[in-house]
Amino acid sequence: MKKILFCTIALLTGIANAGTIEMKVYGLVCGFCAQGIEKTLRKNPATSDVVVSLEHKLVAISTREGQDIPDAELTRALTDSGYDVKGIARTQRSLDEIRAELKQEKK
C-alpha cells in the first residue's frame, strides 16, 4: 500500500514538474523565424503553449499534463524549420514566469 502511495505521489510530482522544456536555438533573428517555429511546435498535440525570445535565443514550450516530447522529436521539429538547436533543458519555471521575466527585462 505504501509502495503504491509513493509511486502515485512520485508520478504526480513528476507530471507537475515536467511541463516546461527550454531550448537554445541559433539563427533566431526576426519575427518570421519565431512565427514559423511557434506554428510548428503548436501543431504537436503534446504542446500547450509556446514562448519565443529572440533576445535569449530561447524557445520554451509547456506540455500538456502527463505528456512529454522527446528531445529527438524537438530537435527534428526545429531542424526541419531551418534552425539549429544548441541545447534542451527541462526546467521548473512555468511559461508565465518566463513571460514575466522577459517583460521585466524590457522595462
Binding site: 539563427g27 512565427q35 529572440l54 524549420s81
Partner: protein
C-alpha cells in the same frame, strides 16, 4: 558602379561575410503573399507556399515598364524557390537562395505573348540590428532579356523581439538591364514588421514611390 561591387564593398565595411532582404521562403508550411510597387518601373505580386523550410512553390505577376521608351512587359510565371545554404549563427543568419520558373510574357512593341523563363538568386545576412541583401532576377524571352539587381542595406534603431514591432531604415539600390531604366535607382525606405505582417515604403532619388507589403501565415 556595378551593384555587385557596391554590395561587396558594403559587406566588407559592415564586417559581414555575406549580404539580406525579404526572403522568398518564410518558413515551413507557411504561405507568403507579397506585392511591390517599384517607382513606376516595376510592379510585382507573388504568392508562395513552402512545403519545406528550404523550398517554396508558387507564382507571380511582374510588370516592367521602361521609363526610356514605351516598352512594357507583363509577365505571369510559376516559380520554385530553393534555399541553397543557410548559416545559423548565435546572433545572425545568412542565406543563399536560388529560383527558377517559366511563364508567359506580353511584349508591348510586338503586341504578342511569348514564352518567358526566369531565374534568380539572393544572398543575405542579418542580425537584429544590421541587414544586407543582394538579389538578381533575370526575365528572358525571345524578344527581351531583363535583369533586375537589387541591393538593400538596413539598420534597425533598436532590437525587436517576437511580439514587438520591428523598425528598419533601408537603403536600396536597383539596376535594370535591357532598356527599362538608365543607371542605378536609389531609394530610402522605412520598413515595419510585426509577426507575419511586413510593410515598407519610401522614395527614390527621383522622388517616386517605392513600396512593398508582405504577409506570412
Amino acid at each position: 558602379m556595378n551593384l555587385f561591387r557596391i554590395a561587396l564593398t558594403a559587406g566588407v565595411l559592415a564586417g559581414a561575410s555575406t549580404l539580406a532582404q525579404a526572403k522568398p521562403i518564410a518558413f515551413s508550411h507557411g504561405t507568403t503573399v507579397m506585392a511591390e510597387y517599384g517607382a513606376g518601373t516595376m510592379t510585382e505580386a507573388q504568392v508562395f507556399y513552402a512545403p519545406k523550410y528550404f523550398l517554396s512553390l508558387g507564382g507571380g505577376y511582374l510588370e516592367l515598364e521602361s521609363d526610356l521608351d514605351h516598352r512594357r512587359r507583363e509577365i505571369t510565371y510559376a516559380r520554385a524557390n530553393y534555399l541553397l545554404k543557410r548559416w545559423n549563427m548565435e546572433d545572425a543568419q545568412a542565406n543563399v537562395f536560388v529560383w527558377g520558373g517559366a511563364g508567359q510574357a506580353y511584349v508591348s512593341e510586338l503586341n504578342e505573348h511569348e514564352f518567358a523563363a526566369n531565374a534568380g538568386a539572393q544572398i543575405d545576412y542579418e542580425t537584429r540590428r544590421v541587414y544586407a541583401s543582394l538579389k538578381t532576377d533575370l526575365q528572358r524571352a525571345d524578344a527581351f532579356s531583363h535583369r533586375t539587381d537589387t541591393l538593400q542595406l538596413g539598420i534597425a534603431p533598436y532590437k525587436h523581439d517576437f511580439d514587438s514591432l520591428a523598425t528598419w531604415f533601408v537603403l536600396q539600390g536597383r539596376q535594370y538591364t535591357g532598356g527599362i531604366h538608365d543607371g542605378t535607382e536609389w531609394a530610402l525606405l522605412l520598413r515595419l514588421f510585426k509577426r507575419g505582417a511586413w510593410i515598407e515604403a519610401g522614395v527614390t532619388d527621383e522622388g517616386k514611390l517605392q513600396a512593398m507589403a508582405m504577409v506570412n501565415f
